[in-house]
Symmetry: C2
Subunit: 376 residues, 2 copies
């Protein structure tokens, strides 16, 4: 029994190794996959067959000649036409739902007001949206790989708990179990459900679907508050108590203006949405955002910093102002500027990130398991 | 051939699993080890036998009765009487060498002025110190497990290169290979050599020998400059270009006083040794150090922050002043203060950390290998 479990895990690891190689390099052949993975050609062939049958992979209709001599090979790629991921963001005032392909392309998106922030009502609203979407997927013969849900609060993803979501008024809530029960009640087909904080999800969305798989990556979310999701060593980094990335409450100005948290001179005082009211506000906020980016670079030295959130959409010049100041800081010290770019998914960053969470966990079988919902 | 290599790696992994369990819990029995590790009792017995023979482990002279019924068991512990680690810090003005037991206890320590900062001369000086120490170890019949070397600069530990050590005037130097050649010339017995940045080494020293194995841990080094070594997820985190932890150049005061780097308001301006000249200087520096600790907590949320370095030795009240201010910041925001403690090894922090590097890598066989020096 145990040996069978070990072999199944080994197989899942090998499958994920192949999928991750194929994601990173287009048009790989089975022979190249064997060479890159260290697996035997027969193992690769068997696993690729499975992944094709399950619509994770697609292959070109006809083999193509390789540059070197030898048999023509058949290029393999992720199948972006059949499998989909659902991502849901429960925000303070609305629910966003996206359905994305395995490459992050958004197939459908829905946004509606959050009708009632009470957890049971939010569960029902999410359940109804997912059931409707599943019916549409059925009609189009698309396969659902899983559902990711994110919200503004401290989350224990492994246990499926919301520890504290002050803006929703939620505390110590077994939200994943509640969603499972709701999905089961509505007859939604069995699917893995994943739960995560919204900024963390957005960071994973940029990491998985941003195009370059940059490690490490920091996603800076500019809204009423300013927070960050951090991907290090191919994993979310959330700190000892789950509060890593509270960059809005790092201090940029000792004895500066009072912050809503009670301290003085926090980044949020200068960069939060409330500071962005006027045209001058944007220029000044951009300057302070530049300082914050420079501090993130000094502390984490990440490969890339992605800046997004509602404030960036409402004030398109904010990022450029920050970048200009950050660049000036680097230049005066004779240092290389870190790579700073705008979020790819705009207002959908967190919802797409929730969908990315499904893929992220599937490709890393050794991460703590998402719970599996079954109607049995 | 390949299968043999795989089996050897598996064996090293299993040995390291057992050693790490024994380090974390004193007096484990073979039966408990099997239960905790998931290895069979016969595998555990064989590996423990090897580790006893090689003096990594020691066992009590006589079995003790267990609380539960059943056969008495023999408690196992790390052998702190036979194997030693050598750690060397090449500082700007001196060379420090320590010899420590497997629990970090310092057996001998030496400090002498760095005679000449030219790399070849530094190599010779280190070689002479190590040869002398090896002779003493021979006389005492102690076994050398490896040599760790650290210095103030950007280091590629895996390749054994010093990328840039501005205060030594070194750049792009194959320093590990130079040390290997010097050791071989002097007839120093074959030993693993490891190379690392000094603040990173000090962080590992606190992590491996600080007593609690706290993950994540940030070591803040207060000297002329202010830098940090960061241990996350049981590994050093050094960032994309190796400059993570440059906390002395995070900005605490926008448009503050000019820093030596050309920017304004960097932490170093307020906390660096030059700012600590007067009694008032210490009080003010302590306050800014408190802000820096609060910012580290907001960004990383580490399990523990360890504060050390020369300034803490010269100004013993610095840490307490910082802690008081940090605590006040947390309190006003209704947050838990992060755990902040003084460095355990004082002025020897980096040298002991270099020794810890040897053990850290031995216990993690999947980390990139240190190069092995052989006289053949």
């Amino acid at each position: 029994m145990k040996a069978t479990g070990d072999l199944q895990l080994l197989k899942r690891i090998n499958r994920s190794v192949l999928l991750r190689l194929i994601r990173s390099q287009p048009d790989l052949s089975r022979a190249r996959l064997a060479a890159l993975s260290g697996l035997t050609k027969s193992t690769v062939s068997a696993l690729v067959r499975e992944l094709l049958d399950e619509h994770w992979l697609s292959e070109a209709a006809a083999p193509v000649a390789t540059q070197a001599m030898g048999r023509p090979s058949t290029p393999l790629n992720m199948d972006t036409s059949k499998r989909v991921l659902i991502g849901i963001e429960i925000a303070v005032d609305c629910v966003r739902l996206v359905c994305v392909a395995l490459d992050g392309a958004i197939l459908t998106q829905t946004e509606e007001p959050l009708r009632d922030p009470c957890p049971a009502s939010a569960c029902q609203q999410v359940g109804a949206l997912v059931r409707l979407l599943c019916q549409q997927l059925d009609e189009k013969k698309l396969l659902l790989s899983g559902v990711g849900v994110c919200l503004p609060g401290a989350v224990d993803g492994a246990l499926g708990l919301v520890r504290l979501a002050p803006n929703l008024g939620w505390r110590d809530l077994p939200f994943m179990a509640m969603l499972e029960a709701e999905f089961a009640k509505l007859g939604i087909p069995a699917a893995h459900i994943h739960l995560q904080n919204d900024a963390d999800a957005a960071a994973l969305g940029e990491y998985e679907f941003g195009g370059s798989g940059d490690d490490s990556l920091i996603f800076v979310n500019c809204d009423v508050g300013v927070g960050a999701g951090i991907v290090l060593n191919d994993r979310l980094f959330t700190g000892f108590l789950g509060t890593a990335g509270e960059i809005g409450h790092s201090i940029l100005q000792v004895e500066g203006p009072l912050c809503s948290c009670g301290r003085k001179g926090c980044a949020e005082v200068f960069i939060g949405a409330r500071a962005l009211g006027t045209a001058q506000g944007v220029a000044q906020s951009g300057r302070y955002l530049g300082v914050l980016l420079q501090n993130l670079d000094a502390m984490f030295n990440p490969h890339v910093i992605v800046v997004g959130g509602r404030s960036c959409i409402e004030h398109p010049c904010l990022i450029e102002a920050a970048r200009t100041h950050q660049h000036a800081y680097a230049q005066v010290a004779g240092l290389q500027s870190p790579q700073v770019r705008a979020a790819r998914f705009g207002v959908q960053a967190a919802a797409v990130g929730a969908a990315a969470l499904v893929l992220h966990q599937f490709l890393r079988p050794l991460l703590k398991e998402a719970k599996h919902v079954s109607r049995n």
